[in-house]
Subunit: 334 residues, 2 copies
C-alpha cells in the first residue's frame, strides 16, 4: 500500500499540516517534531503524490516543449540536443519535460498548445513553426503560463527569447571566403522569412558589403529544408551563376550540395569553396572535412530552461532576448 500524508501524520503523532510544512519548509517546525516526521516518512517510504499537490497548489512542475521536426527527418539533431539541454537543467530543479512536435505545421502547433493549456504546465518552451512567426493572434492562444521562444523569434509576439547569433556566424564564414579571394559566393538556405535564416543572410550581406561588393540577388537561393532542394539550388548556382564558393546555411541542404559536387566531380576546395551550417560529426570525417558554423544547441536548451524557470518565479521581470554565439570551425573546405 502506498502511504499518504495522513498515514505519516498519524504515525508521527502530528497533523497533516505539520507534515506538509516539514516537507515543503514552509513554516517553522521544531527540530524535535521534524525528526518524528522524517522518521515516519522513512518508515512508510512516503513520497508526496504530485498530482494531489498540483491540484491544490496549481503548480505541476512540468514544462512543455514544442519542436518543429518534419515528418521522418532523422537528420535534424539540432532540436534533439536542445531538448537534452533543457532536460538537464529541469532535472536539477525537479521539473519534468513534456515533449511535443508540431511537425513544422501551424495547425498542429496550435493544437499542441491547446493541449498544454489544459494540462496545467508551468511554462512552455516553443520553437515556433515558420508560419507562426506571422501570426499575431497566437498570443491569445497561450494559457496563463510564461513562454520562452527559442531559435526563431516570432515577429509579432513578445516574450523571452533565446536565439543563436546567426548573423555573426555567417558574417565570419563569408568573411573567410572573401579573404580567400572569392567574390561570387552563393548563399543557400531554407525559407528567408524565418528569423534565424534572415539573420544568416544579413551576415552574408554585411560581409560582402564591407568588401565593397554589392550582394547579387541571383546568388541568394532559398528552398525547402531538404537535401534534394540543396542539390537543386547548388546546380542552379553552379551552372547559371558561375559561383566559386558556396555558403550553405542549412545542414540538411548541405548534404544535397555535397552530393551534387561529388556527382559532378567538382573538387572541394579547389573548384568550389564551401562553408556549411552545423557541426555534426559527419562533417568532420568526410573528404575533405567541412568548414562549418557551429551552433550551441545544447547550451541553447540549457539557457532556455534557466530563463523559463526564472520567469516562473518572477513573472513581471523585464523581457529579455538572449543570443548565444555561433562559431566558425575551420577545416579544409575553403
Amino acid at each position: 500500500m502506498i502511504a499518504r500524508i495522513k498515514d505519516v501524520a498519524q504515525l508521527a503523532g502530528v497533523s497533516t499540516a505539520t507534515v506538509s510544512h516539514v516537507i515543503n519548509s514552509t513554516r517553522y517546525v521544531s527540530d524535535e517534531v521534524k525528526k518524528k516526521v522524517y522518521d515516519a516518512m522513512k518508515q512508510l517510504n512516503y513520497s508526496p503524490n504530485p498530482v494531489a499537490r498540483s491540484l491544490r497548489s496549481r503548480k505541476s512542475n512540468i514544462i512543455g516543449l514544442i519542436v518543429p521536426i518534419k515528418g521522418n527527418d532523422n537528420s535534424n539533431n539540432f532540436f534533439m540536443s536542445v531538448a537534452n539541454g533543457i532536460e538537464s537543467v529541469l532535472k536539477k530543479h525537479h521539473y519534468h519535460l513534456i515533449l511535443s512536435n508540431s511537425r513544422e505545421k501551424y495547425e498542429e502547433e496550435l493544437e499542441r498548445i491547446q493541449m498544454f493549456n489544459n494540462q496545467w504546465i508551468d511554462g512552455l518552451i516553443l520553437a515556433p513553426t515558420t508560419q507562426s512567426e506571422e501570426h499575431k493572434d497566437m498570443e491569445r492562444t497561450f494559457g496563463d503560463y510564461p513562454v520562452v521562444f527559442i531559435d526563431r523569434k516570432p515577429k509579432h509576439l513578445q516574450g523571452d527569447c533565446v536565439l543563436i547569433n546567426g548573423f555573426d556566424g555567417s558574417y565570419q564564414a563569408v568573411k573567410a571566403l572573401l579573404a580567400k579571394g572569392h567574390t561570387r559566393i552563393g548563399f543557400i538556405s531554407g525559407g528567408l522569412h524565418v528569423s534565424s535564416v534572415e539573420e544568416r543572410l544579413m551576415g552574408y550581406r554585411k560581409a560582402l558589403q564591407e568588401k565593397g561588393i554589392e550582394p547579387d540577388a541571383s546568388l541568394i537561393k532559398s528552398g525547402e529544408s531538404l537535401w534534394t532542394s540543396g542539390y537543386d539550388l547548388t546546380h542552379e548556382l553552379i551552372t547559371n551563376e558561375n559561383v566559386t564558393a558556396l555558403f550553405v546555411a542549412n545542414n540538411v541542404m548541405c548534404m544535397g550540395t555535397m552530393k551534387y559536387l561529388r556527382e559532378k566531380r567538382i573538387q572541394i576546395p579547389d573548384r568550389m569553396a564551401l562553408v556549411c551550417y552545423d557541426d555534426y560529426e559527419w562533417t568532420g570525417v568526410i573528404d575533405p572535412p567541412l568548414s562549418v558554423v557551429r551552433q550551441p544547441a545544447y547550451q541553447l536548451g540549457e539557457k532556455a530552461a534557466e530563463i523559463l524557470l526564472h520567469r516562473i518565479e518572477n513573472r513581471n521581470g523585464k523581457i529579455k532576448e538572449y543570443r548565444l554565439p555561433a562559431e566558425l570551425i575551420v577545416r579544409d573546405s575553403y
Copy 2:
C-alpha cells in the same frame, strides 16, 4: 476566469455527475440533456482539468520515456527518431510524453524511474542502460505501471519488448561482403554485452559459418561508442589483422572508421570494403556512398507506444517480444 464542471452543471441546469458522464460517455444521458450540457460547455469554453481528473481517476494519460544518450552526443539521432515515433501515436490517443535521459548511467536511470514512480505515469518506455541489463533487482524499482523495453532486451527482467532484428540485418550485410569474395572481415561495435550488439555479432558469425569460415576472435573488436574508438579499432584491424572488409555495427564508430580510411588514403571499396550501421542521410552523400544497415527507429517508437497503450488497457495479457526488420541498403562501399 476558467470554468469548472460546477459552472457547466449550473448553466445547463444539471448535476456535475451528469456533466461528467456526458464528457466521458460513461452512462446513458438523454439527447436532450446532452445537448444542454454541450451548449453550456461551449458557452463557457470549458475543458476538464486533467490534474483533478488524474487525482480522482488515478490515470494521468502521461507516458514516461527514458533514453540513454551520452553527454553531448548529438550524433545519436536513433532515440530522437524513436521519441518522435512514440509521440506520434500517443498524440492520437491523447496521451503525453515525458522525456528523460539516463545518459547511459545506471544510477541516473534508477533516479529517473523513481521520479516517475511518484509522478503517477500510466506507463513507461525504457531503453535500458547497458548496465541495467545485468541488474536483476531493477524490477522491484518500477512502480505499479506497465513497462515496455525498447532496443535492448534486459537479460533478467521480463516484460514487453520491442527490438530490431539486428541478427538478420548483420547476417545480410556480412553475407553480401562474403559474396564479393572477402574472407577476412573485421567486426567493430560497442560493448558486446548489450543485447542489440550481441545479436549483430551473432549475425556476423552465422554468415561466416555458413560459408565454412570459422569466426576469428581477433577480427572481432568492441569498444566505446565514440568515433575515436572506431578510429583506433579500424587501425588495429588493418595493421595487425590484414582485413579486406569491415562491418561496423555502430554509427558513431563508423565515422571513426571513415576518418581513418580517409587519412590513410585507403580506397573504398577497392582496398577496403565497408558496411556500416544506420542509414543517416550523410552516409548517402559522402564519397563513396556507404552501404548500411537501416534500423526502423521511428517505427520502433510507434510500435512501443502501441504496445504500451494496449498493455495499459489489458494488464494481464501474454508478454510479447516484437522484432522489427533491419534492412541492408546497398550503395557503393563494397
